[in-house]
Symmetry: D2
Subunit: 403 residues, 4 copies
């Protein structure tokens, strides 16, 4: 395990931190203001300004993996963490936000040339956005095998029928293309039933019904979380990603990086909350002395630091494992951070909220909205309970093999 | 301690439960729909329909205390609990919602005849709403002595200058009057500095700046939570409530019932969440068996029941104490339920959310919005930490006296 | 629900509290001293002195149920709570300690006349002690149906073969008789397989192997927790309790009161720990001010009070239910207190220990030994997990019936 | 941060693990047996046999720091972790147990030649043991400045008067020498009041009064935890360690390694408990399926693994920091692991106990005694609350410097 930040990474961290503090955080108020003034699902113009700045500063598409002259997971981690400090602005400003990053990776690795050339460049340039159609309202999609949307072969075409929700981003007018997972082979083995296809959102038969909110937040600046009906949607066969009936493996492969990126950003959210808690506790004097001098708050600050640092190290170890032995060899650690990072972040943010009183739950700090994002991540990409179950089974199997 | 529900109360419970199940819960979808269609801060018309029904069924102004031929706290508790099962509809439908109930009590007991006759009847009829101007953005108002809004005597008038926030309800066009607490006697003893006055909201000098949200909820159906500036607002001296400089005691007196009402409703919220969790766990089969058959969820269900029942008994004991020895004699218990009820409710609702997956955080169940209300109540009316501190000091004092 | 302590109970409380403070607590040092001086499993003589005093003061055999001109569960609760404040002295001093109380009830209700007349009077006089042979080392006896000790009919005799452990009290030379549960009917329905018999401990074939400790405590003053082998132990058929193959129902019936008695004593332990925590926090000044003035400890004191009071009310409700609708109607509540009381008590005692530093884990306060007793009760009479599972199943069943 | 285990360390790990599994764990029963047969405070002979084996296998005095051709903290960590799997045998078998390791370091660095030559060699050979006299019964010694034992200069001698407790090991007949901290300069600055001296235990004036137990355990195999009175104990001035009045700094310096060694061993204890929990859950079938297949236990197993791994990484980082920037630069991390490691270990062990039922609290597994050791470490060397307070203050200071 070698976690030290290389000089290259330290430089990148410094650039990203400077960008955060000088450009992004000062622009948060403008973001909120513009959201009041533009149509609900549009992207606030401030994001486009920040995108230009990020490109100028070499902070663009950093998620691209090492093989592409990009960063290893271990190198990307500290930068991704910094983006989490302003979670609804900075990841998108750097073109490193979910679900686009995962979708771009799928297009890069598994799309036919024509499809890749059509969709990947505008995504890499940050001109359009994309959606990942996985979760369904009627089944427990924590088990990917439950997915019931049909993708049927009909001559040179696929025909898609089904209903997806939590299609994050699809409300945005910039969102142009979906990657949809569906059942193409119901009689196949449990991991050979699903396929993944690329679906332009202007294809006839697609209806975007509505958006689901998260604790009252529409996440409108990011295109919300759409419920989408696919009714006899026809696409050419070349829109298949990878192998026919090979969707399950691609979905699993996509989740590893997705989960570690979320975990990295959660650490950044927790650090932002930590700073806000320190700031607040040093500046308020409710009963004659500062909150920072009161034992209960000191206890929170210490606990927060202890928890953050432990999760950070676990994420770094996971990144290092993914870089060195691959996602499969890091399955236990990926499950572990999937559980540990949101638990830590919700704890830290919740206590920062409490330290702020009424201001903490309001729009006057980013805390409440960060809480919502962190809380959601105890559910998204598989709830805690599913990850703990599979982690425990692996541990028990490992134990049996060692005794 | 005699907690048994009398026949009178049992009958009232049955009527309220029937009203909840037959009228209120089925109307929740209409409420959400109407909120989309009407101006943001207006009251959805369904509330007015429910108000009429509630009056017909004898479910009106039940909060009024025993002396007014109303209910004791112990009698009111089980009914208030039921209203908490649909917390943004049923309390208002019964004219039993905060802050109107506390304000009506203040007007009844402490207003001059003219002021009481002007404002109390329309409030009792549910025609107008009122606001309670207590919390301030710039001070830690968990200690009422910190309040810095000025109420100065100028001849026959009071002149008010200051800024309040979390003035819940003030965004509603129905909201017509405020009760404002402010400093009239800065040099007085710590509990003789504040006065309370009645301020019509159309008085010149009042500016309603904006509303603060709670997590992502605007609480728009209830008139939000306004930030209000008072700039040389002049009101006649007859608008004083009670004694000059006697505001602190009235504020304390108001909080006792307010806190127990919140605690009662929180139990109702938890029971609603508990039912939803049972329903969900019986109807989902993610890995071949129902969630209800899985050990982790059984653990949650059992824990939830154990926690709910303990808090209910503590609330009933507190109500009984308030009825028999008065609010002062119940101070320890009032602090205890102020802490215990939101802690229990957030725990139960959070687990119900987790059991629902993505649906749980969305608008498709009342869970996420109930969570926000319960979480807010760990802060509103004094944060947990302040209540625990004062509870501990009373316990230590009591201990010293007994040894 | 009527929980008020009647004048009769208040008087009893006063007598018991006076006995505790004037006789029992001052004698705790003598108890510890005598334990060093006498053979390991003997009863310290101070207990016999206290027994005489308790009889003189009308504090004897108070556990006897109402029908015997004794106390209802609700009346017994506050007295039993007081005994928990000195848990290894006062219950025995009042002849109200486990497992003798449950055994006496079984003998009273289910023994043949000859057997009852032989064993009950000396137990009621506190001259001998008894053991309850239920738990077995090789099976998960949280499910009584797993019990594998054989009780076979052979003519006019029963023949017992098996191994029991956690036979509390059996190491004491005063312990003269066991009530043993075993399988008499392996082919019967799940609840018709077991019988219960009375076994004099001097019957040939009984070997007391050793005692198991609890967190380092031998519980030697109480006769430890013996592992006992029954090897072709023959007893007359008249030693059967109740019906042949009817042991399961008796075991269940015995557990209800046993569990509530434990819960009551746990509240007493928590109160003792609470007092010690207050005492300590008022008398130590580690960093220039008393511990009692430090926020973290105030938080513990407040939390402790809130938790104790909630569990007490739940125990009182359970007692009231057992008195009014019987043990069956109180099954949910009995499970609830079985889980909630040890959880609360371990929390409170653990924090009291922490407040005492090194003294807290040592023999210089009763805290560490009380912790052990409370922790053990998360396992004894069925672990938490089993009680939560059955509680959840009843709740789910109830929910299904109401919707 | 470079945490990878070097080939040298991996080899050492393998040797230590082999020694644990083949020699130590199989000898645990003999250890318990011998403790019954020898005088209470004697060392069971099995320990001496293991010491010989450890020396033969190159597992001796591994705690010695890098400069002595020994191991860095990072190299020692994984070996120390392994010793924690059998915490009352393996550390002593390797001559790496507290307080001897810390005392040997003090003698090495700060003793005069004569004193060092007298005491260090027999300690390094494991022939004698030593005690560290720091904690006092009458003051809160979490603040070293409170220590009130007097060390007065009288000509060529020091005269010691005071009372210490928790002098671990002093009951053992092998324990020959104490390092005592006391006040030599009451009027000095807060960190210039204390001196440290070497006191042969056969010096006149020393009375070993008694031993304090920990949750019922006498820790007799390790010489217990003595209360020691120093009454006009006279020692030559050459027995001073380091500078006169310089004891505070040495005490602080000693604690850093002490705390990280404890943390490492706690991880080992948790791993042992984890293995026992896996073993138990795979071998018990209480309700027709193994415990390992039940959701609640899977949840515990997953949580345990997640917690253990996080603490291990934090300990490794701390060790790496101590190696690279020194103890001062690692103060935040040392406090963090001082809090996090016992919290994690008590959680894991407690759940392993619960999974074992009655066996878990008894002497039939090492769990209950490991729990006691882990719980004690939330108090020893400064309680959690003191470490959190100082950690929070450093964090707040750091925050102030960065904004």
């Amino acid at each position: 395990m070698e976690f030290a930040y290389s000089p290259k990474v330290q430089e990148l961290q410094a650039v990203a931190m400077k960008f955060l503090n000088e450009e992004v955080i000062p622009a948060e108020a403008r973001y909120q203001q513009e959201k009041q003034e533009i149509p609900q699902w549009d992207t606030p113009p401030v994001i486009d300004d920040l995108k230009k700045l990020a490109q100028e500063r070499g902070l663009w598409n950093l998620f691209l993996p090492a093989g592409e002259q990009g960063l290893t997971n271990l190198e990307y981690a500290p930068v991704a963490e910094i983006t989490g400090r302003s979670p609804w602005m900075m990841p998108e400003a750097l073109n490193c936000s979910a679900p686009d990053t995962g979708n771009m990776e799928l297009l890069h690795h598994f799309a036919t040339d024509a499809v890749r050339d059509r969709w990947l460049p505008p995504l890499l340039r940050g001109e359009i956005r994309s959606v990942y159609g996985m979760t369904e309202p009627d089944v427990a999609s924590s088990d990917a095998r439950n997915i019931s949307t049909r993708i049927d072969v009909d001559g040179d075409e696929f025909v898609i029928n089904g209903r997806k929700w939590w299609s994050s981003g699809a409300m945005s007018p910039r969102c142009k293309v979906a990657i949809v997972m569906g059942k193409s082979n119901p009689e196949g083995g449990p991991h050979q039933q699903q396929s993944m296809v690329v679906v332009p959102l202007d294809t006839p038969g697609i209806t975007i019904l509505r958006s689901t909110s998260v604790f009252g937040y529409a996440d409108s600046g990011h295109g919300g979380h759409a419920e989408v009906v696919y009714d006899n949607v026809r696409i050419p066969r070349e829109n298949l990603l990878g192998e026919l009936h090979g969707g399950f493996a691609m979905a699993q492969a996509r989740l590893g990086p997705g989960r570690i990126h979320h975990a990295m950003r959660l650490i950044g959210m927790a650090e932002r909350a930590f700073d806000l808690m320190c700031e607040r506790s040093l500046s308020r004097f409710p009963f004659g002395k500062s909150i920072a001098e009161q034992g209960v708050f000191q206890d929170w600050i210490a606990e927060a630091r202890i928890r953050i640092e432990q999760v950070r190290l676990l994420v770094l170890k996971t990144a290092w494992l993914m870089d060195t032995v691959g996602n499969k060899g890091a399955m236990t650690e990926i499950s572990a951070i999937k559980v540990a990072a949101p638990a830590m972040a919700t704890w830290v943010i919740d206590h920062a909220i409490q330290a702020h009183g009424g201001m903490g739950v309001s729009q006057d700090t980013p805390l409440a909205e960060m809480y919502e994002q962190a809380r959601m991540l105890r559910i998204a990409d598989g709830p805690d309970e599913v990850h703990k179950m599979s982690l425990a089974r692996r541990e028990l199997k490992r134990y049996r093999l060692t005794v």
